[in-house]
């Protein structure tokens, strides 16, 4: 045991957990402060009067009642975004191009996981499953999603990107967009041939839909219920595990060092005896696996998936990667969490803050405004270094 521990780099396990904690708490505090600030300002305006009239709560009270729930939802989706964003950012790190097919890799992961669970459900294995079995099935679904997505990502690289390695940078980008459409239609084709329907629903099983209530207390005339659904916990815990594992892989293992070496200088890396093609394949495999797992977790959280399910999460995760600084793994974590928080806060409070004029359907404006603002004012992202254009 001692000999084994000698080779385990403990800092590389503690550091990312600390980072995730700091990013989560930091963005939660900042977003909450903004929301509460706006609420306090609105209390004196027509919005506050109207709300007091209708529901007998002030905007401030309303904001506070919802706050814990919003933060938890924001974190849940934020971690999913972070896991997808890592796929974009890793590939960008080694090849300097945006793998726009990554959103479909995510969707394939989601479909494989959900179809597996649906199959298990229809064979009656989910209905009577004990809690332990339910979790085993979910883990199995996540693993299968990871495997399928990782394998697919590797194949896509081999078939659609590697032959274009020497071409100008625009060419593989266009290829990626083509692959993205192709995969969407493959999912549609396969689903219509086998099941005849595009919308697939995650079966209900285990205790994932229950809510754990921590406590209730009165605030004014309303009651605050603090609680978290089991599936949110599952999503957060699995995402954190994956993110920490990935961080460890990249920063503390031989393969991870080789990935970083290839990202920095492909030619010199090959002179060290590193098989560059194999490392690039590995990068796609790892990124794809994260995306696939994120797909299954997304399906667990949002229940319904269709062949286009990857588009918006993919675009958001891309935004998250750019926000954090594309090519920077820590940046992807930060970007994912910030974006998830921002979006959930906007979705939850916009309706009430605007007296219903603009509801949660406008929440995407925030994500993409962020993308535009970052590209204009800080193109290297929050954590990226300005390295200038590489030839």
């Amino acid at each position: 045991m001692k000999g084994f521990l000698k080779y385990v780099n403990v800092t590389e396990i503690v550091r990312p957990i600390g980072q995730l904690l700091a990013f989560s708490c930091g963005s939660a505090v900042v977003m909450s402060a903004i929301a509460i600030g706006i609420a306090l300002m609105l209390d004196k305006t027509a919005v506050g009067v109207d709300l007091l009239d209708r529901y007998n709560v002030s905007v401030y009270t309303y904001t506070m009642i919802n706050l814990p729930q919003v933060v938890i939802d924001g974190l849940t989706i934020g971690f999913v975004y972070a896991a997808i964003a890592l796929g974009y950012t890793m590939v960008y790190g080694v090849l300097e191009f945006i793998n726009f097919a990554h959103s479909e890799i995510f969707a394939v992961g989601a479909f494989v996981g959900v179809e597996l669970l649906i199959a298990l459900d229809s064979s009656g294995m989910l209905a009577g499953a004990s809690l332990g079995m339910a979790y085993s099935y979910l883990i199995l679904a996540i693993l299968m999603g990871m495997l399928a997505a990782g394998g697919l990502a590797m194949t896509v690289e081999r078939v659609a990107y590697r032959p274009l390695r020497g071409a100008s940078r625009l060419v593989p980008l266009i290829s990626a967009i083509g692959v993205s459409f192709f995969l969407q239609d493959v999912i549609r084709l396969v689903e219509s041939l086998t099941t005849g329907q595009f919308n697939r629903i995650m079966p209900t099983f285990g205790n994932f839909d229950q809510r754990i209530v921590f406590g209730k207390f009165a605030m004014g005339t309303s009651n605050i219920t603090l609680g978290i659904s089991v599936k949110s916990i599952v999503v957060i815990v699995s995402a954190v595990l994956m993110l920490v594992a990935l961080n460890y892989l990249v920063n503390a293992t031989r393969i991870g060092k080789a990935i970083r070496a290839v990202a920095q200088d492909r030619n010199t890396a090959s002179l060290m005896g590193i098989n560059v093609n194999r490392i690039i394949s590995t990068t796609f495999l790892v990124g794809g696996m994260l995306g696939g797992a994120a797909g299954v977790l997304y399906a667990l959280k949002f229940t319904r998936i269709d062949p286009f399910v990857g588009f918006f999460p993919g675009l958001k995760a891309f935004t998250a990667a750019v926000l954090g600084g594309i090519g920077n793994l820590t940046g992807a974590l930060l970007g994912g969490i910030v974006l998830g928080m921002l979006e959930t806060f906007a979705g939850s409070y916009m309706g009430i803050f605007t007296m219903g004029a603009a509801g949660s359907e406008y929440k995407d404006i925030f994500a993409f405004s962020i993308l535009i603002l970052v590209l204009i004012f800080r193109p290297q992202g929050l954590m990226g270094k300005n390295v200038g254009q590489k030839a």
Binding site: R254, K257, A258, R260, A261, Q264, D265, N267, T268, A269, S270, L271, M272, G273, I274, N275, V276
Partner: protein, 237 residues
């Protein structure tokens, strides 16, 4: 016995004919230098040998085996290491990680550490900087790191591309002393240098390159006294 042998090698960058029938030979235990002006094809020869580019015509034989179409990461395994022009330090890997990358194909951890220790005795400066990022080192330290990293594979043949580039004279001397020491210990060296005088002072033999062709090939002592070479590369009249 010849360790490395290039025969009538033609290499291209796209449509540019960079090497026009190069034939050179490096024997075991020698220091051989390639001198020539910018763009003569010195680096291209090294790149062709280490597999970063493949010749269109001709053969590269190492230890009697044709390696002209072998991938660079496989060539490393056969005991030849190429320190590229500009040193090729990974800027955001630490000095220690850079050294570990040099031993990437080596699975033996204790041997890796042993060689790292050796590199640090050769260049004590590196030992103080093990935890620092490669990109934060000075030019001289980077060159030391590049050589130490190359030695992690314990190569039979070490190819150095412009090790003196951008270094203060005192550091150039240090680097060349190390090269000489390595050679005394049995490592064969193929050296590409702009600083022809320095290169010829430690080399056994040399080749003079001009626009992709070898114009003169002789012992280092004779090249030093060759009037053409003196005029063109040694700055003497």
């Amino acid at each position: 016995m010849s360790l490395l042998k290039l025969e009538n090698v033609h290499s291209y960058y796209g449509r540019i004919h960079a090497l026009k029938g190069i034939s050179i030979e490096v024997n075991k235990g020698e220091i051989v230098t390639l001198i020539g002006s910018n763009g003569a094809g010195k680096s291209t020869i090294l790149r062709t040998i280490s597999g970063m580019m493949h010749p269109k015509k001709g053969s590269v034989e190492y230890n009697g085996k044709n390696i002209s179409q072998t991938a660079p990461h496989d060539i490393v395994m056969s005991g030849m290491v190429h320190v590229p022009e500009g040193r090729g330090i990974f800027p955001t890997l630490t000095v220690k990680e850079n050294l570990e990358m040099g031993a990437f194909t080596l699975r033996d951890r204790s041997l890796t550490e042993e060689r790292m220790e050796y590199g640090c005795t050769l260049f004590p400066r590196l030992k103080e900087r093990l935890g620092q990022y490669g990109g934060t080192l000075s030019g001289g330290e980077q060159q030391m790191l590049a050589i130490a990293r190359a030695l992690m594979m314990d190569p039979d043949l070490l190819m150095l591309d412009e090790p003196s580039m951008g270094l203060a004279p005192i550091l150039v001397e240090l680097i060349f002393d190390i090269i000489k020491t390595l050679n005394d210990k049995g490592t064969t060296i193929l050296l590409v240098e702009q600083n022809a005088l320095m290169a010829l002072s430690i080399a056994h033999r040399g080749y003079v390159l001009q626009t992709g062709e070898i114009t003169v090939s002789d012992t280092a002592a004779n090249l030093k006294n060759n009037t053409e070479v003196q005029k063109a590369y040694l700055g003497m009249d």
